[in-house]
Protein backbone atom coordinates (compact mmCIF):
# COMPACT_ATOMS: atom_id res chain seq x y z
CA UNK A 1 0.00 0.00 0.00
CA UNK A 2 1.48 3.35 -0.99
CA UNK A 3 2.29 5.88 1.71
CA UNK A 4 3.01 9.34 0.33
CA UNK A 5 3.51 11.32 3.52
CA UNK A 6 6.82 12.79 4.59
CA UNK A 7 8.32 12.05 7.97
CA UNK A 8 8.28 14.70 10.66
CA UNK A 9 12.01 15.30 10.22
CA UNK A 10 11.82 15.43 6.43
CA UNK A 11 9.23 18.23 6.60
CA UNK A 12 10.88 20.12 9.46
CA UNK A 13 14.41 20.03 8.10
CA UNK A 14 13.18 20.69 4.57
CA UNK A 15 11.62 23.95 5.72
CA UNK A 16 14.73 24.67 7.77
CA UNK A 17 16.88 24.08 4.68
CA UNK A 18 14.94 26.73 2.78
CA UNK A 19 15.06 29.23 5.66
CA UNK A 20 18.81 28.68 6.12
CA UNK A 21 19.44 29.04 2.37
CA UNK A 22 17.57 32.34 2.23
CA UNK A 23 19.30 33.52 5.41
CA UNK A 24 22.62 32.59 3.80
CA UNK A 25 21.87 34.81 0.80
CA UNK A 26 20.67 37.71 2.95
CA UNK A 27 23.70 37.46 5.25
CA UNK A 28 25.98 37.67 2.21
CA UNK A 29 24.34 40.94 1.19
CA UNK A 30 24.37 42.30 4.74
CA UNK A 31 28.05 41.67 5.40
CA UNK A 32 29.20 42.81 1.97
CA UNK A 33 27.25 46.07 2.19
CA UNK A 34 27.91 46.87 5.84
CA UNK A 35 31.50 47.14 7.12
CA UNK A 36 30.10 47.08 10.69
CA UNK A 37 28.41 43.73 10.13
CA UNK A 38 31.55 42.35 8.50
CA UNK A 39 33.72 43.57 11.37
CA UNK A 40 31.31 42.12 13.93
CA UNK A 41 31.32 38.75 12.22
CA UNK A 42 35.10 38.81 11.98
CA UNK A 43 35.34 39.73 15.66
CA UNK A 44 33.21 36.76 16.77
CA UNK A 45 35.44 33.96 15.45
CA UNK A 46 38.42 35.65 13.87
CA UNK A 47 37.14 35.26 10.29
CA UNK A 48 33.83 36.43 8.81
CA UNK A 49 33.37 33.22 6.78
CA UNK A 50 33.73 30.99 9.85
CA UNK A 51 31.07 33.05 11.64
CA UNK A 52 28.86 32.95 8.55
CA UNK A 53 29.07 29.15 8.25
CA UNK A 54 28.52 28.62 11.96
CA UNK A 55 25.41 30.82 12.01
CA UNK A 56 23.84 29.16 8.98
CA UNK A 57 24.59 25.58 10.06
CA UNK A 58 23.28 26.26 13.59
CA UNK A 59 20.18 27.91 12.13
CA UNK A 60 19.50 24.81 10.00
CA UNK A 61 19.99 22.38 12.88
CA UNK A 62 18.16 24.31 15.60
CA UNK A 63 15.25 25.52 13.47
CA UNK A 64 14.77 22.03 12.03
CA UNK A 65 14.79 20.53 15.51
CA UNK A 66 12.28 23.11 16.79
CA UNK A 67 9.92 22.57 13.84
CA UNK A 68 10.08 18.80 14.25
CA UNK A 69 8.76 19.24 17.80
CA UNK A 70 6.04 21.73 16.94
CA UNK A 71 2.37 20.96 17.60
CA UNK A 72 3.16 18.74 20.55
CA UNK A 73 5.61 16.62 18.60
CA UNK A 74 3.35 16.14 15.60
CA UNK A 75 5.42 18.55 13.53
CA UNK A 76 4.37 20.85 10.72
CA UNK A 77 1.84 19.75 8.14
CA UNK A 78 2.73 20.71 4.59
CA UNK A 79 1.48 19.01 1.46
CA UNK A 80 4.18 17.02 -0.38
CA UNK A 81 3.90 19.14 -3.50
CA UNK A 82 4.28 22.33 -1.48
CA UNK A 83 7.34 21.05 0.38
CA UNK A 84 9.07 19.80 -2.77
CA UNK A 85 8.33 23.04 -4.64
CA UNK A 86 9.43 25.18 -1.71
CA UNK A 87 12.72 23.34 -1.28
CA UNK A 88 13.65 23.37 -4.95
CA UNK A 89 12.44 26.93 -5.46
CA UNK A 90 14.02 28.21 -2.25
CA UNK A 91 17.44 26.72 -2.98
CA UNK A 92 17.47 27.94 -6.58
CA UNK A 93 16.26 31.41 -5.56
CA UNK A 94 18.95 31.69 -2.88
CA UNK A 95 21.61 30.71 -5.39
CA UNK A 96 20.31 33.29 -7.86
CA UNK A 97 20.39 35.99 -5.16
CA UNK A 98 24.01 35.20 -4.26
CA UNK A 99 25.18 35.02 -7.87
CA UNK A 100 23.14 38.07 -8.82
CA UNK A 101 24.52 40.04 -5.90
CA UNK A 102 28.13 39.47 -6.89
CA UNK A 103 27.39 39.99 -10.58
CA UNK A 104 25.55 43.26 -10.13
CA UNK A 105 26.60 44.77 -6.81
CA UNK A 106 29.87 43.01 -5.95
Amino acid sequence: MENSRFSNNATAFGISLVVASIANALLVAAKEKSPKVLAFMKGLTGHHWITHCTVIVLLFVIFGWVLSRANGGKGIHVTPATLIGTIVGGVILSAIVIVGFYLIVG
Binding site: A10, F13, N24, W49, I50, I56, V57, Y102
Partner: protein
Protein backbone atom coordinates in the same frame (compact mmCIF):
# COMPACT_ATOMS: atom_id res chain seq x y z
CA UNK B 1 51.33 19.91 1.90
CA UNK B 2 48.95 22.71 0.94
CA UNK B 3 48.65 21.31 -2.58
CA UNK B 4 47.69 17.93 -1.11
CA UNK B 5 45.04 19.63 1.03
CA UNK B 6 43.69 21.47 -1.99
CA UNK B 7 43.52 18.35 -4.17
CA UNK B 8 41.97 16.30 -1.34
CA UNK B 9 39.06 18.71 -1.02
CA UNK B 10 38.55 18.58 -4.80
CA UNK B 11 38.57 14.76 -4.80
CA UNK B 12 36.14 14.59 -1.88
CA UNK B 13 33.86 16.98 -3.75
CA UNK B 14 33.91 14.74 -6.82
CA UNK B 15 33.25 11.72 -4.61
CA UNK B 16 30.18 13.34 -3.06
CA UNK B 17 28.89 14.30 -6.54
CA UNK B 18 29.32 10.73 -7.80
CA UNK B 19 27.69 9.25 -4.70
CA UNK B 20 24.73 11.65 -5.05
CA UNK B 21 24.39 10.72 -8.69
CA UNK B 22 24.31 7.08 -7.66
CA UNK B 23 21.54 7.89 -5.14
CA UNK B 24 19.63 9.67 -7.93
CA UNK B 25 19.84 6.73 -10.33
CA UNK B 26 19.05 4.18 -7.62
CA UNK B 27 16.08 6.26 -6.42
CA UNK B 28 14.76 6.39 -10.00
CA UNK B 29 14.77 2.61 -9.92
CA UNK B 30 13.94 2.16 -6.24
CA UNK B 31 13.14 -1.39 -5.21
CA UNK B 32 13.59 -3.67 -2.20
CA UNK B 33 16.92 -4.70 -3.72
CA UNK B 34 18.58 -1.27 -3.64
CA UNK B 35 16.85 0.46 -0.69
CA UNK B 36 19.68 -0.39 1.73
CA UNK B 37 22.27 0.90 -0.72
CA UNK B 38 20.36 4.15 -1.22
CA UNK B 39 20.28 4.71 2.53
CA UNK B 40 23.97 3.87 2.93
CA UNK B 41 25.03 6.16 0.08
CA UNK B 42 22.78 8.97 1.32
CA UNK B 43 24.67 8.84 4.62
CA UNK B 44 28.04 8.59 2.88
CA UNK B 45 27.44 11.81 0.91
CA UNK B 46 27.23 14.20 3.91
CA UNK B 47 30.21 12.54 5.62
CA UNK B 48 32.42 13.00 2.56
CA UNK B 49 31.06 16.49 1.95
CA UNK B 50 31.67 17.58 5.54
CA UNK B 51 35.28 16.34 5.54
CA UNK B 52 35.89 18.11 2.21
CA UNK B 53 34.22 21.25 3.53
CA UNK B 54 36.37 21.33 6.67
CA UNK B 55 39.58 20.80 4.67
CA UNK B 56 38.52 23.52 2.21
CA UNK B 57 37.61 25.82 5.08
CA UNK B 58 41.01 25.39 6.68
CA UNK B 59 42.70 26.01 3.34
CA UNK B 60 40.52 29.06 2.60
CA UNK B 61 41.15 30.73 5.95
CA UNK B 62 44.87 29.93 6.32
CA UNK B 63 46.38 29.36 2.88
CA UNK B 64 44.19 31.04 0.27
CA UNK B 65 45.12 34.68 1.13
CA UNK B 66 48.45 34.23 -0.68
CA UNK B 67 46.68 32.95 -3.81
CA UNK B 68 44.08 35.70 -3.50
CA UNK B 69 46.80 38.35 -3.64
CA UNK B 70 48.20 36.77 -6.82
CA UNK B 71 44.75 36.60 -8.43
CA UNK B 72 43.88 40.20 -7.61
CA UNK B 73 47.16 41.50 -9.04
CA UNK B 74 46.79 39.42 -12.20
CA UNK B 75 44.62 39.69 -15.32
CA UNK B 76 41.79 37.59 -13.84
CA UNK B 77 40.67 39.38 -10.64
CA UNK B 78 37.15 38.09 -11.30
CA UNK B 79 38.46 34.63 -10.37
CA UNK B 80 38.31 35.85 -6.77
CA UNK B 81 35.85 38.75 -6.92
CA UNK B 82 33.09 36.66 -8.47
CA UNK B 83 34.01 32.97 -8.60
CA UNK B 84 35.54 32.53 -5.15
CA UNK B 85 33.07 34.89 -3.48
CA UNK B 86 30.08 32.98 -4.87
CA UNK B 87 31.72 29.59 -4.29
CA UNK B 88 32.41 30.22 -0.60
CA UNK B 89 28.73 31.00 -0.02
CA UNK B 90 27.02 28.58 -2.41
CA UNK B 91 28.98 25.71 -0.86
CA UNK B 92 27.03 26.25 2.36
CA UNK B 93 23.81 25.41 0.57
CA UNK B 94 25.50 22.31 -0.80
CA UNK B 95 26.50 21.30 2.72
CA UNK B 96 22.92 21.68 3.96
CA UNK B 97 21.54 19.75 0.99
CA UNK B 98 23.89 16.84 1.71
CA UNK B 99 22.89 16.94 5.39
CA UNK B 100 19.24 16.76 4.36
CA UNK B 101 19.66 13.89 1.88
CA UNK B 102 19.77 11.01 4.40
CA UNK B 103 16.72 12.43 6.20
CA UNK B 104 14.67 12.22 3.02
CA UNK B 105 16.19 9.00 1.74
CA UNK B 106 15.42 7.14 4.98
CA UNK B 107 11.78 6.81 3.87
CA UNK B 108 10.49 3.76 2.01
CA UNK B 109 11.23 5.03 -1.48
CA UNK B 110 9.50 2.02 -3.01
CA UNK B 111 6.11 2.74 -1.47
CA UNK B 112 6.42 6.49 -0.87
CA UNK B 113 6.24 8.23 -4.24
CA UNK B 114 6.65 11.73 -2.79
CA UNK B 115 9.71 10.81 -0.73
CA UNK B 116 11.21 9.28 -3.90
CA UNK B 117 10.47 12.49 -5.80
CA UNK B 118 12.07 14.63 -3.08
CA UNK B 119 15.11 12.34 -2.91
CA UNK B 120 15.52 12.74 -6.66
CA UNK B 121 15.24 16.54 -6.39
CA UNK B 122 17.69 16.84 -3.49
CA UNK B 123 20.27 14.49 -5.02
CA UNK B 124 19.96 16.28 -8.37
CA UNK B 125 20.49 19.66 -6.69
CA UNK B 126 23.59 18.24 -4.96
CA UNK B 127 25.01 17.00 -8.26
CA UNK B 128 24.32 20.27 -10.10
CA UNK B 129 25.59 22.51 -7.30
CA UNK B 130 28.62 20.26 -6.87
CA UNK B 131 29.48 20.55 -10.55
CA UNK B 132 29.21 24.34 -10.31
CA UNK B 133 31.60 24.24 -7.35
CA UNK B 134 34.10 22.15 -9.32
CA UNK B 135 33.89 24.54 -12.26
CA UNK B 136 34.35 27.60 -10.09
CA UNK B 137 37.32 25.97 -8.41
CA UNK B 138 38.86 25.44 -11.82
CA UNK B 139 38.47 29.10 -12.71
CA UNK B 140 39.98 30.16 -9.38
CA UNK B 141 43.00 27.89 -9.93
CA UNK B 142 43.39 29.32 -13.42
CA UNK B 143 43.21 32.81 -11.91
CA UNK B 144 46.25 31.98 -9.78
CA UNK B 145 48.07 30.60 -12.82
CA UNK B 146 47.22 33.69 -14.91
CA UNK B 147 48.47 35.90 -12.09
CA UNK B 148 51.76 34.02 -11.85
CA UNK B 149 52.27 34.04 -15.63
CA UNK B 150 51.70 37.77 -15.79
CA UNK B 151 54.56 38.50 -13.38
Amino acid sequence: MKEILLMTHVMLGVLSILASLWVFVDALNASEVNLARIRLLSRFVPVVMTVGFLIAGYWYVNLYPADKAIILKGPWPFAHDFFMETKEHLVLMLLLLTAYLPIVASADLVLNRNARKLTLCVSALIVLTGLVMEGEGGVISMGVRMGLLAH
